[in-house]
Subunit: 146 residues, 2 copies
DNA sequence: CTCGATATTTCATGTTGTCAAGCAACGCGG
DNA sequence: CCGCGTTGCTTGACAACATGAAATATCGAG
């Protein structure tokens, strides 16, 4: 067992906390620029890649399916998303981004690109190191993608 | 200007997103173990270090002061936090953790220690590299200037 | 076909967040 | 000292997000 009071580890954890805070701030800000909330932006980004059942969205967001209903309702009300039937299972509803939704998702993605500028301060070598270290940190319990 | 489609940068950003997601998940989980929400845990952790005015809490949380009122209300209702007068300014209310609040904050902190185990997989040298790289990433705009 | 499981929705409820309005206290210029 | 703009906090109204329980429809195995 690693000593819990290790100063170095603590500092790294604090830095990660700072990164998390910063990431959130910028994400919400970028979403707000397109009149979306964070949750809506996340769902829209998901659906821009591929349509998926409500239940799958809930898994990705790690929340209850009943919650997703509301989020998709609001996106649908704004014409960014549509619900369609799943040909293989009539219980399932497939949510998909509309053309307008895709367009918004694209612009959102660009705003987020802007947010990643801080990384530009790192050389290619440094970015590679960072990538490798982050991979290692995430490795043990990487969430099994389903 | 760095090309926005740089594969390496994109991968690092994705990894950071994964770290952010993971961090949140574990934070909420740790908070829930003590029957706290994420926001409540954050405020309690802040106040466990030192008492502070409501307005300062709002700044730290980057939210409206009126929001803090509710969060502190709930913590106070559970006896984890107390509001007291500021001797220097009677408009100000100083929120402070009660003994019970300090105790909860301690146990919460231990749960979070547990969550940082992933870092244990890294050698001291690697943790140092990671620290330095994260510092660099955060450096330029530690505080979003507006 | 029946029955348990699954996908979604609806409803009730609670927390977080915003904004506008209000009140008390501060502190400055006259 | 007195007004008056500013500041700190709370309140109220309202939207979004989140959970859990119950309702509905469909699926699939026996």
């Amino acid at each position: 067992m690693v000593p819990r009071t290790d100063a170095l580890t603590r500092e790294v954890v604090d830095l990660i906390a700072a990164v998390v805070a910063r990431y959130h701030e910028e994400y919400e800000e970028a979403a707000a620029k397109h009149a979306l909330t964070g949750a809506q932006a996340k769902v829209l980004a998901l659906l821009a890649r591929e349509p998926m059942p409500m239940r799958r969205i809930a898994q990705r967001l790690k929340c209850e399916p009943s919650n997703v209903t509301g989020i998709v309702d609001r996106l649908e009300a704004r014409g960014l998303v549509e619900r369609g039937p799943d040909p293989d299972d009539r219980r399932v509803k497939l949510a998909a981004a509309t053309p307008a939704g895709l367009e918004t998702a694209d612009r959102l993605s660009e705003s987020l690109d802007f947010a990643r500028e801080p990384l530009a301060g790192l050389s290619a070598e440094e970015r590679t190191s960072l990538r490798d270290l982050l991979r290692r940190v995430l490795e043990p319990g990487t969430d099994a993608p389903r």
